[in-house]
Structures are given as structure tokens and as C-alpha cells.
């Protein structure tokens, strides 16, 4: 157990407090220094707030513009859609149309067998 009671501890702290008081800076001079730096600080806070507000306004305007542009584009697409579908042509469609389609066409099988053959005249007996 300890013999030192609260009063003794308090007395020691009081002595410490008294010594601290001897090196205490003067309130007025300290406060004046603070008061002088305070307006600068406040104006710094104000100007930074202003910059934040400007940046926020620009951001909001940009978002609105992008949204508006997107809506406009969507509207245009919906108006043009029926026309473009009917008139649309594949960019490679020309490749599917050869310049001389007759050359590439397969010769007709039946006609080749009888090509140049004169049709026989059959003599039919009528007896």
C-alpha cells in the first residue's frame, strides 16, 4: 500500500502549476498574433470554398451537357431509324455482285445435251 494520499499529490501538482505559471506566455500578445493571422486564415478558407463551388458548378454543367447531348443523339437516332433500315446497304454488298454474272453461271445441263442437234424428223406410218 502507498502512504501518499490525494492531498499530497495535489500539493505536488500545485507546486508544478505555480512553476508553470512563471513561464506562462502573456495571453494578450498571443491572442493578438492569433487575431492577426485569423483573417488571412478565414480568407484562405473563403477562397478555397469559392474554388470548390466553382469546380462543383463546372462539374454539374458538364454532366448536364453530356446528358443533354446524349438525349439529343438518341432522339435523332429514333427519327432516322425507319429510313436508314430500308435504304441500308451492306458495305460489302458489291462483292456479292460479280461484273459478268453470265460467265459464272453454271451451264444449263439439259440444253447442253441437245445443243446443235437437229430435231429428228420422224416418219410416221399412217398405214
Amino acid at each position: 500500500m502507498t502512504d501518499m494520499n490525494d492531498d499530497e499529490l495535489r500539493a505536488r501538482f500545485s507546486a508544478l502549476k505555480a512553476e508553470d505559471g512563471r513561464v506562462e506566455p502573456e495571453f494578450r500578445s498571443m491572442f493578438n498574433r492569433v487575431a492577426q493571422s485569423s483573417p488571412t486564415d478565414r480568407s484562405r478558407v473563403r477562397s478555397s470554398t469559392r474554388w470548390v463551388a466553382v469546380a462543383a458548378a463546372i462539374l454539374i454543367a458538364a454532366v448536364l451537357l453530356v446528358g443533354k447531348a446524349r438525349d439529343l443523339r438518341r432522339e435523332q437516332q429514333t427519327v432516322l431509324a425507319p429510313q436508314t433500315i430500308t435504304t441500308w446497304e451492306s458495305p460489302t454488298a458489291a462483292l456479292l455482285e460479280p461484273p459478268a454474272p453470265d460467265l459464272l453461271a453454271p451451264p444449263p445441263l439439259l440444253s447442253s445435251v441437245f445443243d446443235g442437234v437437229a430435231s429428228p424428223t420422224l416418219d410416221l406410218k399412217t398405214d
Binding site: T2, M4, A15, F27
Partner: protein, 170 residues
Amino acid sequence: MEQELERELERLHSESWGWALACCGRDRDLAEEVLQSAYLRIISRRATFNGDSSLRTWVFGVIRWTARTELRRRLFWIRRHTDSEGANEVVDMSRGPDVIAERSEEREALIHALESLSRRQREVLQLVFYHDMTIEEAARVMKVSLGSARTHYDRGKKSLAQKLEHGVDR
């Protein structure tokens, strides 16, 4: 309103100074800087009093927060700019030779004993015995629960008394 606040700060100035010293490892220059920064926070309304506690408790809370921020900032700067050996050296500067030389024997013993306690024990004892706060008020300043403050108070007081009677090494 501002003048009223100024008057209150002036009334609390001695107490605030003692508390700033305690929060800064009794480094006078640092304590002065911290106290000035705390006043700046208060009058520029960066710290606002919402009336949950007494004005003194609130001002002490602002000083404590400012001191901790400043000490953390210094430690970070030191770690970035010096090696670990240098960092220890600069941290110990908070108890520089000029400060130590001024200490009377009894004061020296008390400070030495306080320094050997944990930070929270030191804080609660300082608030109760130096500033005559209740443990509840001390808990508010330290932002800990009442139960936790009581534990720190009991253990800290016992340890401090032992160290003052028998020396810090015990």
C-alpha cells in the same frame, strides 16, 4: 460574442497553458505553438462549441487534439527526413537540456514519475490533480468512457504515488 469568447479564453489561459505543457511533454516552445494554434481554431470557428460540456472541457479537448496532431505531424516529418536514430533524438528534444535544468528537485521528481506512466494515466492525473477536474470531466476531455477514465485514474495514481515515494525505477 467574439469578445465574450476572448474574455473566456483569457480567464482560462493559465489553465490552458498548463494543459498545453502537459500535452507537449513540457516543451515550452511546442506548448506555446500548440496553444496558439488551438486559439486560432477556436476563434476562426474551425472548432465549434456545441454546449455538450463546459467551455473549459471543450477548450481542453481542442488543445489536446491540436497537440496530438502537431506531435504526429512532427513525428511524420522526422521519420521522412531522418533515420530512426535521428528521429529518437529529435523526439527527446521535447525534454531539452534547458528545460531539465530549470526543474526543481520536487518538480523534477513529479515530472519524471509522470513521464513513466502511460499517456492516458498521465492525462487523467493531470486533469484531476492539476486542473481540479472531476473524473467525468477528464473523461470528456480525453474522449474516453467514464469507466475507462476511472481505471486509468486508479492505476495511474497508485503507480505515481509509488514512484514518488520509491523512485521511478521501482
